[in-house]
Subunit: 379 residues, 2 copies
């Protein structure tokens, strides 16, 4: 163990006292087991799903920085109201980072592990915000020749989430879908999938600029929730597409309920169903998979009783469809890595730079079009 | 057709002008077809589910009465905000009344129809708020000897809804359940079913008086949502019972979300699951089947992503389980009509009295313990 590789690892800790602490530790890298490899992490994105663990329920207007330039320590207060949801992680220093990519620099004894030596791989499995990650071969995906770590950094979460949406649509008997925050990296991916697969997609955005981004990408149905005619425009798009399932990244305010109201209005406009005071029998589904709007979800019910709003999360979805279908989705991601599933980043930062309050202030906003990439081995 | 029986029928009409009109028409009773019977309706309840059709979205503070003592006409304004949901029924005069009971006075030629002559039957199928109802034998349920029309008036909606809840609980893999507005007629029924079947039931009520009603009926878990310790008491009951599915008649405000929050807290307290910032993997379900609170549903999300809130309605449920299982549930209702499925009524009114503004003001409140029964043939 004397030649153990040591590297920096980002840790997030929420203390019982109500304080968030983010710091960088120097940790030894475990020796790879037979079916494991050690990867030098070169690219790992800050996804909204990472921010939940990274900053938790902390009030980021209270951020303080201490420590040194190379080993900064960020602290912030967690409001009392947010502490209930933090109960399960109190006083536990947690590594962060769902996915990433890098180069295999050491392998275990198995043939599968050795085959990866020197290869650039995409990785899933958490704790990616560190310089060296030891993980199982099954958690790696070898990238095709010519693909860089940056190309492969976001191979799992966004691509499989977007594919999971069209899969869920089909499996639950719908034929078209609605997506909110639709100009996001994920939304652009979903738009490319739907164009390619011939699926009608209603893109809901929150500004004229976002509408323009999607229009340039060839999106056919774009509705701006800030428009004064939003409900009419949404209903018209729902009539045209027949969408009865939505995936909502906003997860707060009235939007989810408005989508259900629009779907019911579109169903009634179709003239296919007799009046029932309970509303139509057509099941209308909204899945909330994000929380860009942290306000409560407010549902003004005016869409009968054939409806459901629920949480949707990638990993339970993958468990539900099983390994064979999961592999089919992964293969498609690799096959279309630089086209359908290409990601774009605003800024590449080192681990220490990721703890710079000026950067935190930008990426923690989760603004559409602002996506950071960490390169833990950035010189 | 000259000897057609004529009788009064209640009609509800919402005009494009935004006015509700409830009136009594004298209508001829159709001749029964071979598989039909004519029933003299003697008891038909005003369920919350009937009120939706009876008064629609009208503002009942604007009720006006005109017409004569025997043929009163009620009018009220429908606020503009409510008119969208009324679109499907505009300018269509609609009969009302989901279920009822009475005596078969005329039959069609089939053996099954003739066998019912003189029998007291329970009925389902709408348009029960009238003196004579012609309907199919399959929409009737012959009551056992000794059972009156009043005993059988509420044979379908409440009993099958209550049984539908425990059936849904089992079919969706839960082992205990939560019910709101739990001291209602339906709630008392559900409590009796659960006591009899050994199912743990968390009864949520809205006052100490309602808690007392259930306590006297032997309910084991009663939580009062007006208690200052409501969330702690709810969570404790959820820990004890392990309930992960709820049926909510309130359908407005924060209660549905609070139930999910309590379930997640109970799951975390069980200590069976590791921390995940996405919350536990245990699916938590709230079905909204009523709208006693007409405010929007407000969901403060603090229970991860394994959750769903959706509408639940008896008739789609019965279609889903199919005729054989439906028949099994109906048979249980008949077998336990005077025990498990007994209903209690505050007041028995004639059709004209049902249109008395003083009565409307009481039954339209949908208050727990205030249930009206119409006897269209009351002298």
């Amino acid at each position: 163990m004397s030649d153990a590789i040591r590297g920096l690892q980002l840790r997030s800790l929420i203390k019982t006292s109500g304080e968030l602490e983010i710091s960088l530790l120097e940790v030894p890298t475990p020796e790879p087991g037979p079916d494991e490899v050690v990867v030098r992490v070169e690219a790992t994105p800050i996804n909204p799903s990472d921010l939940g663990l990274l900053t938790g329920a902390a009030d980021l207007s209270t951020v303080q920085v201490s420590g040194t330039r190379d080993h900064p320590v960020i602290t912030a207060k967690v409001p009392e109201a947010g502490m209930r949801a933090m109960a399960g992680r109190l006083d536990e220093s947690m590594p962060v980072g769902n996915e990433g990519a890098g180069v295999v620099i050491k392998t275990g004894s198995s043939e599968a592990a050795q085959a990866l030596l020197g290869r650039t791989v995409a990785m899933i499995g958490g704790a990616m915000y560190q310089q060296y990650r030891c993980l199982k071969v099954s958690e790696c995906l070898a990238l095709p020749a010519g693909a860089t770590a940056t190309d492969g950094a976001s191979c799992f979460v966004n691509p499989l989430t977007a594919l999971g949406m069209t899969e869920t649509m089909r499996r639950e008997g719908h034929t078209a879908l609605v997506h909110t925050a639709a100009a996001s990296n994920l939304g652009q991916m979903l738009n490319r999938i739907c164009l390619k697969d011939g699926i009608a997609l209603v893109n809901i955005v929150r500004s004229a600029e976002q509408a323009e981004i999607l229009r340039k990408l060839g999106a056919k149905h774009i509705v701006d929730s800030t428009s004064t005619n939003f409900m009419d425009e949404l209903t018209a798009a729902l009539v045209e597409t027949g969408a009865t399932i939505a995936f909502d990244a906003i997860g707060g305010g009235r939007l989810a309920g408005q989508i259900l109201t629009g779907m019911e209005a579109a169903i009634n406009k179709s003239g296919k169903y007799p009046y029932s005071r309970y509303g139509s029998n057509v099941h209308k589904q909204v899945y909330i998979y994000g929380g860009l709007d942290t306000r409560p979800v407010e549902i003004v019910k005016s869409f009968g009783l054939a409806w459901s709003i629920g949480g949707w999360l990638l990993f339970p979805f993958l468990m539900k469809i099983g390994p064979a279908d999961g592999q089919r989705l992964r293969q498609r991601v690799v096959d279309e890595l630089k086209t359908t599933f290409a990601s774009h980043y605003t800024k590449v930062v080192s681990l220490a730079e990721a703890l710079d309050p000026a950067n935190i202030a930008v990426y923690a906003k989760r603004a559409t079009g602002e996506k950071f990439l960490i390169n833990p081995n950035k010189g």
